[in-house]
């Protein structure tokens, strides 16, 4: 307790700096991968991608990120075990942030496919299990989280597979794909709007509604979400009607205009993907930060801790900063390197990934957006939708799994010991 009141200012500042650092890493690296299929299929420009990311990452974090933040803040470790030594929680979360952020910086500079989520979870488990005691960790929850890391790419792949097969059967394999595209794509737009709205209603707006005193049942949520879906579909159909069919280009490539129609759809799925990513990954930075702020400001480990909005703003600002300084370069690389992805494929992969991530956020499960997207792309590939996929990347991902958790844990333990040394055990 002494330590906390003595060093409260500096600990808070450190927490903000490390939290911002971690958020910066998410913006610099992760967002580009999440938006990769939109940028790679040339459905949106990099500038548009950045604008979409800035708006929807923040919205996703604010409206749908509560559960995941809660998990990272107090789900992985049982905070009540640290009730007697609240400063350990502070040191631990600070170490976790620093460790994960550092590991991310190292991995990014070498182009390793490392996950921000795996890093922070590994670091938290690391400091808790080995820095304090094995009982500190809620192992059943950790077990669920690890399982979700395996399930999410598979689920995303399955959804993307089915989405793409539906696109093939309804549109691409028929006589008049252009007319059919204009007819059926509004339904997919409805699905995007409905999905995001459902998650927002059911989880995100809970805190907003509670203050006003409204309670939403699942039926209500479905009703309002359906309305949102229809609005999105109508707006989308309007955008589709403004496309002029280029007959000349269609002579060389039967599907030229069809893909242009899908490109409009991809704008919506790009928003959904940014929203989903924000809902799941901002928590990686903001969760530990919120834990530290709560303990330092109240002096105790509270059973129920709140989420001050400025923390979310700091996280959002960090992501935007990362995007603006580094993320756009990674996006440019993606845009240059991916030459043969068309919007019909990109849409299926992106929506499959976005739905999986957003559902995981609903259940408060922190998953890797990048790995989920890889699973989704593979799903489309299995439906024979993509010319060539590098399976080496999957090997690299498995390797990164093996390395990230220990690396994050070890670094967290080292920093934890350092904190104990500097600020007192």
């Amino acid at each position: 307790m002494d330590i906390l009141s003595q060093y409260s200012m500096i600990l808070l500042v450190l927490a903000c700096v490390f939290g911002f650092f971690m958020a910066w890493g998410v913006g610099a690296n992760d967002v580009a991968n999440a938006m990769g299929t939109s940028v790679g299929s040339k459905a949106i420009t990099i500038k548009q991608a950045i604008v979409i990311a800035m708006i929807f990452e923040f919205l996703g974090a604010y409206l749908a990120g509560g559960e995941v933040t809660s998990t990272i803040r107090k789900g992985i470790i049982d905070p009540m075990i640290l009730a007697d030594t609240p400063h350990y929680l502070v040191y631990g979360m600070l170490s976790a942030l620093l460790a994960a952020g550092t590991w991310l910086a190292i991995a990014s500079s070498r182009g390793w496919p490392v996950s921000t989520t795996h890093s922070i979870v590994g670091a938290i488990v690391g400091f808790a299990a080995f820095g304090i005691g094995v009982d500190t960790v809620s192992w059943s929850k950790v077990g669920n989280i690890v399982m979700s890391w395996v399930v999410s790419p598979v689920l995303a792949g399955t959804i993307s597979f089915m989405l793409f097969v539906s696109v093939q059967k309804l549109i691409l394999q028929k006589d008049n794909p252009y007319e059919r595209a204009k007819k059926y794509i509004p339904y997919y737009m409805f699905a995007v709007g409905f999905l995001i709205s459902m998650v927002t209603c059911l989880k995100g707006l809970k805190h907003v509604f509670k203050d006003i005193g409204i309670k939403l049942s699942i039926g209500d949520a479905m009703f309002y979400s359906a309305i949102v879906g229809v609005i999105v579909a109508v707006f989308g159909a309007y955008l589709l009607s403004r496309i002029k069919r280029d007959e000349v280009k269609e002579r060389n490539d039967r599907f030229y205009n069809v893909e242009r129609v899908f490109a409009i759809l991809m704008v919506f799925t790009a928003c959904a993907m940014a929203f989903a990513h924000g809902s799941n990954d901002v928590a990686n930075a903001v969760g530990p930060l919120a834990a530290v702020v709560n303990v330092v400001s109240t002096g105790v480990v509270g059973a129920k801790s709140s989420m001050p909005p400025w923390i979310l703003l700091l996280g959002g600002a960090g992501i935007v900063a990362g995007l603006a300084t580094f993320g756009f370069k990674v996006m440019a690389t993606i845009g240059k390197k991916i030459t043969e992805l068309t919007p019909s494929r990109g849409f299926a992969a992106e929506l499959g990934a976005a739905s999986t991530v957003v559902v995981a956020s609903y259940f408060g499960l922190p998953i890797s957006t990048t790995h989920t997207l890889v699973g989704a792309v593979l799903g489309v590939g299995l439906a024979r939708g993509i010319g060539a996929l590098n399976l080496n990347v999957i090997g690299g991902i498995f390797l990164s799994w093996l390395v990230t958790l220990p690396a994050g844990a070890i670094m967290a333990i080292v920093f934890f010991s350092l904190f104990k040394l500097v600020f007192g055990a």
Binding site: A32, N33, G36, T37, G40, G111, P113, F164, Q168, K169, L172, Q173, K174, D175, P177, D253, R254, F255, K329, V330, T333, I334, K337, I338, E340, L341, T342, S344, T370, L373, V374, V377, L378, G381, A383, R384, G385, I386, G387, A388, L389, N390, L391, N392, V393, G396, I397
Partner: protein
């Protein structure tokens, strides 16, 4: 500045396959000029034409080699790798055949007897038509990928391949005609020259066979 997502997408083999076929057809098309020069007795022009064929065939070979290099087993493809490798080999044989025909004729400064000259030129043309039709089929490969190897595109390609078969039939007819005409005059020309004429007729017929085989291979993509 690498990214996991961009690393995931590999170089699709379909456009390179189409580019190789285009190079092959460019090479075999030059055969028309060569036959023109050869049948007019202008062997200087014929030699220049042969050199063009040879250079174009080398270009196609380079594309073929690069194609094979860009197809490592770590790539996940929507069609079996062996199908693609076989297809590029079959395509390449067309260019080889064209070079072989020109080379043989140039080496012996082969004279085509006046009575069969017209039929000979028509025979070469009909053989090249088959190659062009195969090219049309190969050019549908990227649309085939786009539509997922099923549906309307199959109908389109099947039509192209049916036309391929009928053009090959026409080339066969032309071969029969010229053989008959040569048979009628073979006593009047030196025996060895006659033998080589039959040989060249064989090779020209072979050219259209090779083109047709490319089409048959494509059907396998669609059958799976």
């Amino acid at each position: 500045m690498r990214s996991t997502v961009s690393d995931l997408f590999g170089k699709s083999p379909f456009k390179p396959l189409q580019q190789h076929m285009t190079a092959v057809i460019e090479c075999s098309n030059e055969l028309t000029n060569f036959i023109d020069a050869a049948t007019s007795g202008d062997w200087v022009k014929a030699e220049a034409s042969y050199n063009t064929i040879r250079d174009l065939e080398h270009g196609a070979d380079d594309l073929k080699r690069q194609f094979r290099l860009d197809l490592p087993s770590s790539l996940f493809l929507p069609v079996p790798r062996t199908d693609l490798l076989e297809l590029v080999t079959l395509q390449d044989k067309i260019a080889n055949g064209a070079r072989d025909i020109a080379g043989t004729m140039l080496g012996r400064q082969m004279e085509v007897p006046e009575p069969i000259k017209e039929d000979f030129v028509n025979f070469v043309a009909s053989s090249l038509h088959v190659a062009h039709q195969a090219h049309r089929a190969i050019n549908e490969l990227d649309e085939l990928l786009e539509s997922g190897f099923k549906g309307k595109e199959i109908t389109i390609i099947t039509e192209i391949l049916d036309q391929l078969d009928s053009k090959e039939g026409l080339a066969d007819d032309a071969e029969r005609i010229i053989r008959g005409k040569l048979l009628a005059i073979e006593e009047d020309i030196p025996a060895i020259k006659a033998m080589f004429l039959y040989k060249i007729i064989d090779k020209i017929g072979d050219l259209s066979n090779r083109a047709q085989r490319v089409g048959s291979r494509m059907q396998l993509f669609m059958a799976r």
